[in-house]
Subunit: 99 residues, 2 copies
């Protein structure tokens, strides 16, 4: 039996990071508040995962304003898209190995 | 857009727990050492995840002897099988939502 988790990317282990990447893969850019609402997570929890994904070059951050309010939005980078697709393929292989 | 991670089970978040459950789903019973070798993890890391899965009723532990050496083996419980299958289905839905 092959190691079923060898190809999984530790950086995408957390459910919340899976959620962030899944949302950003199918949206051009998503605001912090929309991510927080959609994934049903706390500010602090979401912020810490976003920082890790950004530090690893998987997402980009845009800081702008809507009126006088700051509006931070996130989008996936090409490297992020590639790495996440590889992770999803490894997950699918792990799952199909159980059938 | 629906929350893509709402149905994911936090207890199966860690890669190592995914690996343990995947191996036990397709094997009657597996020893600690075989799990350790197959998943390429340290004793301490593997042991802590096994304890969590056992405490949640997802795996069973058998402590026996081979000659004079202790031999601990693990197998998945019916509850574990059910919960893990639900988790895998949620992962598959998350992935297919990206296609």
């Amino acid at each position: 039996m092959k190691n079923p988790i060898a190809q999984l990317n530790k950086l995408f282990e957390s459910r919340i990071r899976l959620g962030i990447m899944s949302v950003l893969m199918v949206n051009e850019a998503v605001s912090f508040n929309d991510l927080k609402q959609l994934l049903d997570v706390t500010d602090g929890n979401l912020a810490s995962h976003l920082v890790t994904l950004e530090e690893n070059g998987f997402i980009k951050v845009w800081k702008g304003f809507v009126g006088r309010k700051t509006n931070t939005t996130y989008s996936v980078t090409r490297a992020g898209e590639k790495a996440f697709k590889q992770h999803l393929e490894a997950l699918e292989q792990m799952i199909s190995g159980l059938r």
